[in-house]
Amino acid sequence: MPANSLQSQSQPESQSESPSPPSPYLLEMRGITKQFPGVLANDRVDFNVKAGEVHTLLGENGAGKSTLMNVLYGLHQPDEGEVRMNGEQLSISSPSDAIARGIGMVHQHFMLVPTLTVTENVALGLKSDRRPLTDLPTVEKRITELSQAYGLQVDPNAYVWQLAVGERQRVEILKALYREVSLLVLDEPTAVLTPQEVEELIAVLRQLATDGRGLVFISHKLHEVMSVSDRITVLRDGHVSGETTPAETSREQLAQMMVGRPVKLVPDKPEVDVGEVKLVIKDLEVEGDRGNLAVNGISLEVLAGEIFGLAGVSGNGQRELAQAIAGLREAKSGTVSIDGTDVTNAHPSSVRKAGLSYVPEERMRDGVVSGFSVSENMMLLSRRESEFARFGFMRFGAIKEHSSNLVDRFAVKTPNIDTPTRNLSGGNIQKLILARELSSSPKVILAAQPTRGVDIGAAEYINEQLAKQKANGCATLLVSEDLDEVLALADRIGVIYEGRLMDVIDAKTATPHQLGLLMAGVAKAA
């Protein structure tokens, strides 16, 4: 009797066609409960997926989405509840069990080995036919077939460290497809993608579903959710707060279901009088990882009280530009100055001292020490400030107060400030970094994709904070691929393409169409 413990989500086709229990569902998770120290991450969650559908999991940062999927994938053991595939109860105690049952997963934080090639990564953990030798040519051939079949372009012989994030994700998907999964989980796959890549991915997902696979999709971007999903389940504080379909709902309604209050989806843009020049970049040239000229002669200025949006498809030199500004990558020629101080090729500590705050794009790798507590990560910048350290000794009273304060103000969801940061959900780590960077009274903020991966409530708050810093006379360089975000926040928008600044436009007159053309490298019409 499969259906009785489920919620009444009666679907017309669920009337049994054949006698005994061929379940209508590919996957059923029932009453999943998972307790972490201080957090009930999943509270009797029921979740199911049919073959051939894309089922979206939606919820705030820390709502328990990744936890639920990690239970499915055998990375966590649930305290209660059961998992069934095709009606058969499973006990999944490790990812290899999950893979053997046809469950694949693309994680929020990728799990590839950077020093191996694409083919080697895909082959990793598989039994080769020529054991104990490897059989990479066969693997490579199959990868090529799969990538052609689904339009997942990637060079099988490239090393993973050479790949852009979008390509890495394709490798993750190929890895799962190679293992012939019938259920594929994608945990925030679009958070790292360019708008074009998102469209391509959505097409791939639809095709995978049409081929009869079940897909679980996690995202914070409501328009993607609306366009890709067959069904949507909303999680809130660990429990299911509702289930719906795109046809029955709207973005506003989804936001309300997630956060529990109405959310402003488009931020206010305060009018601020601009002041003097705070960030000057002049004829900057920077080499990329592969020795190419990733930044090819960029000059720009950002004024106090201004947000300069740098739009562009990722991989066009944004990362190298940001790193060069922050002193993390050598500038081949040209200059960078912050608040009047020349910081070209200065040590990161000097750049910080000159007044730079930096929200890096790859936060897990670049933004936090995952083994440190929340409070320790909050102190990463101000570790030597007289407020928090005296005669070289840290002042724990002040540190504790400051960290708790930031955790409250930025709504970082954590059991307490001593929790190891790696136990936080992805979006909450992002909030932690923003709290740290924005609270250090910067003169220049360099923010790469600041709202990527955070829920809409938090995005609203971050946008407010950026606006507030702007009002305080801070100069902000906002690097983003999200045109909506750039248009909503920035005062001027520059478009970067192949390491060059295509054009700089006043945000009041810019249109998405115009920006889109520039981002694709089509020169200005005028």
Binding site: Q35, F36, P37, Q77, D79, E80, E82, Q89, S91, S93, M111, A326, L328, H347, P348, S349, V351, R352, K353, Y358, P360, R365, D366, G367, V368, V369, S370, G371, F372, S373, E376, M379, L380, L381, R383, R384, A389, G392, F393, M394, D418, T419, P420, R422, N423
Partner: protein
Amino acid sequence: MTEIRQRLLRNAIGPMVPLTAVLLALIIGAFMVLAFGGDPIEGYRAMFSGAFGGWDELSETTLRATPLLLVGVGICIAFRSSVINIGGEGQIIAGALLCTTIVLVLPDLPRPVLLPLALLGGAVGGAFWGWMPGMLKAYAAVNEILSTIMLNIVAGYLMQFLLLGPMKDRQSEELGDIAQTERLSENAKLPTLLEGTQFNLGIVVAVLAAIVGFVLLWRTSLGFEMRAVGGNQIAAQYAGMRVKRNIVLALTFSGMMSGLAGAVLVLSSTAHRLSVESGPSGFTQLAGFNGIVAALFGALHPLWTIPASFLFGGLLVGAFALQRAVQVATPLVVALSGLVVVFVVSSESIVTRAREWAERVSQIAKGGSSSGNEPSTPLGATDPGSPRAPDSASEPESTQTPETSSETIVT
């Protein structure tokens, strides 16, 4: 209430892990003793009383534990900064050499001046021997595991050379080529703490060093930076930390502690001189390697390393009593301490495995009956204050933990 109990339990897990490991090693050791025709019960009784059975035994154990503790504290500092220092042996020797030189040159200084000066010399010598691989790693990308091992060898030969040459004992020249210095000035002798025993100031120095190590790592901005660099170099750099300088500092501090151990070894030796009759390791007692085990035993926490050093020191001392009591071959004793090392070093992963297994069993049990709830105790959680190795166990794909890398080297 339960909150507190869970907390206590969680904190108790830390030290329980290596203790269980020792127990396991001893059980296997018992079978080995049996196989050699000895009585393990009698052997272990002898071992225990040989290590902790009386004042003499206790002071012997303390003497043994002192260099282990000093080296161990240095290891905590290095490993917490993700620098693998295998150079304890060389750093001990470098410290001992500089300390001895100072005492030989200035034998007539009054004790309150000479003694601190000699200890300082040891610290500086060791620090220098740690600074070199630190610089090599930071500025020339030379793997510190290799360079520290190489420098052990360099230090060993340097000591032989000096003790047979410039620092050689002139008085006993007619006895032939004995690599030793003359007897050192009485003013440089570490004072005994308890009349009639061998307890000396060395252990006080070592315990103080452990406290300093703890304060450095967890109470100062510098230690914070070092741990940040150890935890995630890239993030540390992004946050504006000077990664290279921190690496050099970590190895320098680490070497300094070992150098101090070298000074203590010289200044508390019964012959009161630096001598290498049976090779360099005869002088160091292999504390440069065994200190690593003590530190791992103490979960890379300087304060836990104090009891860990005593236990491990006791084990080393007691093993010889065991050998005498049950008349087994000497290699067995070496094998026994080797077993302990292997178990301690791999205990982390054994425990993780056991925990997973237990979870699975309880899962199956639960699946059978009704919801036998009560959320499984969060043993996996590591309290940040509680001493645990950085980033190990709980992360399945953690690339390189100090444990694994030292496993192959400590033999």
